[in-house]
């Protein structure tokens, strides 16, 4: 099982739960499982976070493999270009309220 840790404000979306043990083989699966566990996370995940797998930071990399014993951190995205292609809401620390 990969150990998954949410860094920073992301845990606000999960009601304070910041650590998970998940059986996933790639980033896309990770996002899917997290979204099933906490549906409110879904809109923050795909382009709004960077994923550190065993110390290596990946951005916009849905197909990146995750090992069975990997340590995974979900971080605020440092930068990226995918967002100019399509809108996917981002990390809650950078999120406007829905009323806007």
């Amino acid at each position: 099982m990969a150990r998954v840790v949410l860094v920073g404000n992301l845990a606000q979306v999960t009601g304070g739960v910041a650590e998970f043990d998940l059986s996933v083989t790639c980033v896309q699966q990770l996002f899917r499982q997290l979204s099933e566990l906490h549906p409110a996370l879904e809109r923050h995940l795909e382009s709004g976070v960077a994923v550190a797998i065993d110390g290596q930071i990946f951005q916009d990399a849905l197909l990146e493999p995750i090992g069975a014993d990997s340590e995974v951190f979900l971080l605020p995205q440092i930068a990226g270009g995918a967002g100019v292609r399509s809108y996917i809401p981002t990390f809650p620390g950078a999120q406007l309220p829905e009323t806007r």
Partner: protein
């Protein structure tokens, strides 16, 4: 290094790691290179922008009828010409941007939110007519109270910029709007317990001024829109694919109909990752049906393009008597300018990144005020928070009587250290930079009275991202190399070296260009210290395609099997018994028979580069303070930074030196000065004091190379980390020279003199 076959050979490669002349150098030193304002088209109009004279005002009405009636005026645009955008955040360079805000920053809608905010734009047949037209536009404002200072903007009752801005990340969720756009934090360990273990705790509050990127070339754009909507744009930018995306979005254009060419660029440093003039020029051209050229004045650059944040930072750091850091806390308040999106998030993540500390808690606030919207500036957010931390680290070293390099070494992040922002570091070179500085003659050189020496370290993440490059083998065997990221700091030299080594072709037989958006697949911008890192990775992929193609052609020509040939040393070579029958063929040999063996030869590398290795640096500076004037003179400066592997050492050193010089300006002189009326008082290089060549010594650069295992050549990004340590290093040197801990930047002569007088020290 050794000389082989007329090539300088270093570390097993012919050109990588050597000092080659940059391919764009001749044009740049002869004046042939065409920058943004150098482009012109037949029949072009001149575009000018009407800007708000008020820092905060509701726009009641805009009457353009008199301007439109002026002979020679061909188009006028206002907020009515830009459709509103929904609230959508997207990453933009190393900052986040919201299209709802971008469209309002490009052209004010409900309110003008800073002095210089665009309110209308005209296109006319001459500059004089355009200026007269601007005066004929009647804008009725309802002037509102303004707020400039970040702390004042956070206070309840402060003038509110956006009545729909509720602090995100605050708990409980606020029920009233404020100027605090968001609250972010990182936390690990038990900070309270960590401080209890400390023998010494230092807590200080620091203040930094907003500073401009100071690129020498102002923003410029030339647009032409044809009757069928096909749009061409030439602009000085760090990312023409990003410009294309933003303009298409803001103006409702198909991306495929917009072709953007990045001109040569006279500096960007993050400030040219956003759009200002580009959508206006396209909108005016679309309306006028003629090309429109727009160039900002220096005053406009200062008043209406992004500086970086000013900030207030509180730092608390605890250590044992032996010098081990036990706990760290920081609170960061960053100005975002008129719209949210300061670099406070990376500021939070970077603050303690150089150190291995078990207990860390950092909180950050993103705060809007009536200033121009901030833009990225080299390692956005990091210099500010790390300046404060490095100042306190120095103070702890003094209090514990520990050498400041020893203290940093004792606490330094190394491979396996869990970063304060979560993951563990891979191979990194902070310790190596500290050791490199300690070994310099500079470190032990004697100092006189009023002279001081300071040291500080710094960190930046670096990024990869989407990248596309192409290599084409020409008919004579020369190579055309096309990259899609503007060359700001020697990219073409770095990529040409890699291509030369990959294909075994002489450096001067490769011509690199920056392709337009119609020539290559999507490229993210030049930013995040990514262009040489990502571009060289993509180039290796493109070269692999060529090598595989040549080997396949050789098999057909020689009637050989794939395992009977290999590509090495710039040739396809026959192996085994085949070697007795045929001679190796060079890339040029294949070029001659390309048409007869399958057609043109080329490769395209298309990647989303991952594996950017973080970069650490340590800076050492000597300065001298004149006690009569308070002026600080930088006497000597040494930079040591981990480059992973320097593809072009001379241009890597140039990045180190440039970052140090910009940091010197940030530390000693640069600041936005506002009057009580909320207007910028120093919007020009005469009053906004940037360092010039005569202000700084030669910056010594030490290349530390701890290879990045995720890159085929070991490369790390190098462009941003060099601006992180100077602020702390110079503040520490100032303390060493005067005995005074300055907690506010810039440490300009009036402030230094005042502090010296207060201490009775202003006589030599």
């Amino acid at each position: 290094m050794t000389e082989t076959n007329g090539h300088t050979q270093a570390n097993g490669h012919s050109y990588v790691g050597t000092r080659q002349i940059r391919p764009d150098g001749v044009d740049k030193v002869t004046g042939r290179a065409r920058f943004g304002a150098d482009y012109n088209l037949p029949g072009q109009l001149i575009g000018r922008v009407l800007r708000s004279p008020h820092p905060h005002a509701r726009i009641v009405s805009i009457d353009t009828s008199k301007a439109e009636a002026l002979p020679g005026v061909k188009a006028v645009v206002t907020r009515e010409d830009f459709g509103d955008q929904p609230s959508e955040f997207v990453p933009a360079g190393e900052m986040m941007m919201n299209y709802k805000d971008v469209v309002r920053n490009v052209m004010a809608r409900e309110k003008a939110l800073y002095e210089g905010h665009p309110v209308a734009a005209v296109a006319a047949t001459s500059v004089a007519i355009a200026r007269r037209a601007l005066k004929l536009i009647d804008v009725k404002y309802e002037v509102l109270p303004h707020v400039i200072d970040v702390v004042e903007a956070m206070r309840p009752g402060a003038p509110l910029l956006h009545d729909d801005l509720f602090t995100v990340g605050a708990e409980p969720k606020p029920d009233k709007p404020s100027n605090i756009a968001k609250r972010v934090e990182i936390k690990q360990g038990d900070v309270a317990a960590g401080f209890k273990k400390a023998d010494v705790v230092i807590e200080r509050e620091f203040k930094t001024a907003p500073v401009h990127q100071g690129y020498i070339e102002p923003h410029a754009a030339l647009a032409t829109v044809s009757e069928d909507g096909a749009t061409e744009l030439w602009t000085t930018t760090q990312g023409h694919f990003i410009v294309r995306a933003h303009c298409a979005r803001l103006l409702g254009l198909d991306i495929g109909k917009v072709r953007v060419t990045a001109t040569e660029i006279g500096g960007g440093f993050g400030g040219k990752t956003v759009v200002y003039l580009e959508p206006l020029a396209i909108a005016l051209s679309r309306k006028a049906k003629r090309p429109v050229k727009m160039v900002m004045s220096r005053e406009e650059v200062f008043k209406a393009s992004g500086p970086t944040s000013g900030a207030v930072v509180r730092v608390k750091l605890g250590a044992t008597k032996a010098g081990k850091f036990t706990a760290a806390f920081a609170e960061l308040k960053y100005q975002a300018g008129a719209f949210q999106g300061s670099p406070v998030q990376p500021g939070v993540m970077c603050a303690y990144a150089p150190y291995d500390i078990e207990n860390v808690h950092v909180i950050g606030y993103d705060v809007v005020s009536n200033r121009p919207k901030v833009a990225a500036y080299r390692a956005p957010g990091a210099p500010i928070s790390e300046y404060a931390v490095e100042s306190v680290v120095d103070e702890i070293a003094k209090k514990l009587d520990i050498d400041p390099i020893d203290l940093r070494m004792q606490n330094a992040a190394r491979e396996g250290t869990k970063a304060a922002y979560g993951p563990k570091f891979g191979p990194i070179g902070l310790e190596e930079t500290l050791n490199a500085i300690r070994k310099t003659e500079h470190w032990n050189a004697p100092l006189r009275k009023w002279q001081g020496r300071g040291v500080a370290s710094g960190f930046w993440f670096n990024i990869g991202g989407e990248t596309c490059v192409s290599l084409t083998v020409n008919e004579d065997g020369t190579i055309s190399l096309m990259a899609g990221t503007p060359d700001i700091g020697g990219l073409r030299a770095a990529l040409t070296s890699v291509a030369a080594d990959e294909l075994g072709v002489p450096y001067d037989k490769i011509r690199p260009i920056i392709g337009d958006t119609g020539s290559l697949g999507f490229n993210f911008l030049t930013g995040g210290s990514r262009s040489a890192f990502s571009g060289s990775m993509a180039l290796v992929e493109a070269a692999k395609q060529i090598k595989a193609d040549l080997c396949a052609r050789a098999c057909k020509l020689w009637e050989a099997k794939p395992d009977q040939v290999e590509f090495s040393g710039g040739h396809v070579k026959p192996l085994g018994a085949l070697a007795d029958k045929v001679k190796p063929m060079s890339v040029a040999d294949f070029a001659k028979v390309a048409g007869k063996t399958g057609g043109p030869i080329g490769g395209v590398g298309r990647i989303n580069a991952q594996g950017a290795g973080p970069s650490f640096g340590t800076h050492l500076v000597d300065l001298e303070v004149d006690p009569e004037t308070g002026r600080a003179t930088i006497l000597r400066y040494t930079v040591a930074q981990d480059a992973g592997r320097a593809l072009s050492p001379a241009y890597v050193e140039g990045q180190f030196q440039g970052g140090a010089v910009q940091g010197i300006g940030w530390a000693l002189n640069e600041e936005y000065v506002y009057g009580a009326d909320g207007k910028l008082q120093n919007a020009g290089f005469l009053d906004y004091r940037m360092p010039v060549a005569s202000d700084v010594p030669m910056i010594d650069a030490i290349l530390v190379e701890v290879a990045n295992p995720k890159h085929p050549y070991g490369v790390r990004g190098v462009g941003e980390t060099p601006i992180v340590p100077p602020l702390g290093a110079i503040a520490n040197a100032m303390e060493a020279a005067t005995g005074i801990r300055f907690t506010e930047l810039p440490m300009s002569p009036p402030k230094v003199l005042k502090a010296l007088k207060e201490k009775g020290l202003n006589k030599a």
